[in-house]
């Protein structure tokens, strides 16, 4: 269940966690990570399929031993129903970002092209600038932001963090995305 390698034995891993939607649950999980010295890169929360249950997608960095501990420790939280590692080779992942860009003069065409290439959307326009919505794998979002920053003035960025899901057993896929 190891993701792309960062360095040495450390990898980035994605786990999906189903929890009862009760007060304080998120705090328990966040607290568990800091107390055990686990490193969260991103965490997202939202409703899942079943009413009363929330689904968290957590991206963590660590070696295989740490990841095993994370799963075991998560299961010890009474409100945690299921912990599923997300298989890096057989999953879909998405993240969304809103990017507020200042437009002073003639870079508009360039911006529109970039948004088009990345299949983003302009969702707010004014004399001062625009807000762009971009959705995709984390790597795509990051590439878009990097390119945009090299030619435009970014005022604000809001990212959702990653949500992910294992693919159907039988589904065809090329590496990742």
């Amino acid at each position: 269940m190891s993701d792309r390698q960062i360095f040495g034995g450390e990898h980035e891993h994605t786990v999906s966690v189903l929890v009862y939607n009760k007060p304080g649950v998120l705090r328990k999980i966040a607290g568990l990570f800091s107390r055990r010295g686990f490193n969260i890169s991103s965490i997202t929360v939202g409703d899942g399929k079943d009413p009363g249950l929330s689904r968290l997608t957590i991206v963590v960095t660590g070696d295989d031993k740490v990841i095993e501990q994370i799963q075991k420790q998560l299961y010890k939280v009474v409100e945690v129903v299921k912990v599923s590692p997300i298989d890096p080779k057989h999953r879909v992942e998405r993240e969304m970002a809103l990017v507020k860009v200042r437009l002073d003069g003639g870079e508009k065409i360039e911006l529109l092209q970039l948004v088009e290439i990345f299949r983003g959307k302009i969702i707010d326009v004014s004399n001062e600038g625009v807000i762009v919505e971009i959705t995709g794998a984390t790597s795509k979002v990051e590439a878009f932001i990097k390119l945009l920053a090299s030619s435009h003035k970014i005022v604000e960025i809001a990212r959702t963090g990653k949500v992910a899901m294992n693919r159907w057993e039988s589904s065809y896929n090329e590496e990742g995305s």
């Binding site: 304080g24 031993k65 075991k72 299961y75 010890k76 009474v78």
Partner: protein, 566 residues
């Protein structure tokens, strides 16, 4: 409604202190006096340690009832103590009314937030309707699987609210179903390893006490003739064949116990969590051994050491499976080897002009009945008890193992006595830790509980002083207590019979009086302040290389007792 629920859980004993945000519950307590015994303590930490001592010694969950804010935060150290040693507690704390939560009201504290990392589970009750289920769940969670403390935060408006009382008979928490049966394949694999092993060793941990399976552990050892060692919390293992017993392991384990671990080819760890105090240097721990690790908590397996055969399950069921196997074993060569080491490096100490703390413990072990519950504090006193008191029954040695909470012994001893009125309870504490919950002497006197207390007074925070002597060039930074009070005098003022013992020749008679006393009694024993706990494997060191001797630093005698040495 709370007490009705507690009665359904067969609770007959509660520990605590009242206060404004729990006053309604305490008022209701008046109507239940005939069915529930309540014990008032002088500090909430004391009450919670007492519930802990009650739980450790009886196996029943300890119940604590305190108020909001400071009442609740005072329980924190004791809850953390119970959490580290997996002790079942149900702590009920008052809380300000729901409408005032978050307003920084008088005596408000975010208790569920504060105790989150030190409880197995906690819950802020928001309506009277959910109360019965919450109580049922709390007891279920505290006592099943790997036990632990559960906290229920009860706002004042919920205490006052009325509702229909429907107590659930069964509980099912889909997200909480501990594995109890070990995997048959792994069990078979473990026994295959045992069959082919030449130097197997059983390590018994606190789990054997908590799960009440020490008799099965003994039976397992005897059936296959396997040598046995134990962790601090695994005291009480007692095979019929005494020659198989090789004492404690770890930082202050016996030389032969640690030798056994180092030279074994198969460790069978039963309810052990392989803490740093047991491992020393994890890279050099048991270099030639395969490890079979049985534990109810999957998170413990593989956490601190690599494991060859993980068995997640209840010790009781796993040991029964082990005992179903039949094959011939002969480990007599290995036992002989270990006996040889034991003869060469026995536990010991040198006699001298001062009272030796080790002697006091050894003598007490001789004079008190076999089933005495000994409650040690933390530090040198704890290690001397662990080394020189021979425990033959499970749940007879209580101490704060994981958290190392000084001040634990006196209140926990009171709780143990409350839970075991027919067994002797002997508290052995150092002078430093004793002063951390000394107020509970009043509780002993209030209920006339015949708890026996020995204070091993070396005028120092001794374990830290020992480290300073060995590793910090004898710079005794803030460890010498040259201004200790007359503990016997304090006990007498409180109303407890007490004696001060200063000379080696007075020890035997004083201990006999203590053992025979029908009422509470305290011995204030002035012991050799230079004495160190040995053997010692320095923190992170190799178990195979213990420190077996260290000079006594005579300079400190003058510093703390005024007189000159020898």
């Amino acid at each position: 409604m709370l007490f009705e629920a507690l009665l359904h859980e067969k609770v007959d004993t509660i520990f605590g202190i009242p206060g404004g945000a729990i006053i309604n519950v305490y008022d209701e307590l008046c109507d239940y006096q005939d069915r529930i015994r309540f014990f008032l303590f002088r500090h909430e930490q004391g009450a919670t340690h007492a519930a802990d001592g009650y739980a450790r010694s009886t196996g029943k969950p300890g119940v604590v009832l305190v108020t909001s804010g400071p009442g609740a935060t005072n329980t924190v150290t004791a809850i953390a103590t119970a959490y580290m040693d997996s002790v079942p507690l149900v702590v009920i704390t008052g809380q300000v009314p729901t409408s005032m939560i978050g307003t920084d009201a008088f005596q408000e504290a975010d208790v569920t937030g504060i105790t989150m990392p030190i409880t197995k589970h906690n819950h802020l009750v928001t309506s009277i309707e959910e109360l019965p289920r919450v109580i049922k769940e709390a007891f279920h969670l505290a006592t099943t699987g790997r036990p632990g403390p559960v906290l229920i935060d009860l706002p004042k408006d919920v205490q006052i609210a009325e509702g229909e009382f429907n107590y659930p008979n069964d509980i099912d928490i889909p997200s909480y179903r501990p594995t109890t049966r070990g995997h048959p394949k792994q069990i078979k694999k473990a026994m295959e390893l045992l069959k082919n092993s030449k130097k197997p060793l059983v390590i018994v941990g606190g789990g054997a006490n908590l799960s009440g399976t020490m008799d099965l552990v003994n039976a397992f050892i005897d059936k296959f003739g396997i040598p046995v060692v134990h962790t601090l919390m695994g005291h009480g293992v007692n095979p019929r064949d005494e020659r198989l017993y090789f004492g404690g392991i770890g930082m202050h384990g016996t030389v032969y116990g640690n030798y056994a671990v180092t030279h074994s080819d198969l460790l069978i760890a039963l309810g052990v969590r392989f803490s740093d105090r047991i491992l020393g240097n994890p890279k050099k721990f048991a270099p030639g051994a395969r490890i079979v690790h049985v534990d109810i908590d999957p998170a413990e397996i593989g956490k601190n050491v690599r494991v060859d055969v993980p068995i997640v399950g209840d010790l009781k069921s796993v040991l029964k499976e082990f005992l179903n196997f039949d094959f011939e074993t002969d480990f007599s060569e290995w036992v002989k080897e270990l006996q040889g080491v034991k003869e060469r490096f026995p536990l010991g100490y040198r006699k001298g002009k001062y009272i030796k703390p080790q002697y006091v413990v050894e003598k007490a072990s001789e004079l008190f009945p076999d089933d005495t519950i000994v409650v040690a504090d933390v530090g040198q006193n704890q290690m001397w008890v662990a080394q020189f008191y021979r425990f033959k029954h499970p749940r007879s040695f209580l101490c704060s193992g994981g958290l190392g909470t000084m001040g634990f012994a006196l209140p926990a001893g009171i709780g143990a006595k409350i839970g075991n009125p027919n067994r002797e309870v002997l508290v052995i504490a150092g002078d430093g830790g004793f002063q951390m919950n000394i107020q509970e002497l009043m509780t002993i006197n209030r209920y006339k509980l015949p708890v026996k207390v020995i204070i091993l007074d070396n005028n120092a925070l001794g374990m830290v002083r020992q480290w300073q002597q060995l590793f910090f060039k004898c710079r005794y930074s803030a460890t010498l207590l040259d201004d200790n009070p007359d503990f016997a005098g304090i006990a007498k003022v409180v109303g407890i019979n007490a004696r001060r013992v200063e000379k080696p020749e007075e020890v035997d008679a004083a201990l006999e009086e203590l053992a025979n006393s029908k009422s509470p009694m305290l011995l204030h024993v002035l012991v050799d302040p230079r004495e160190n706990v040995l053997p010692m494997v320095p923190s992170g060191g190799n178990l195979a290389e213990p420190l077996t001797d260290a000079p006594l630093d005579s300079g400190i005698v003058e510093k703390i007792r005024g007189g000159s040495d020898e």
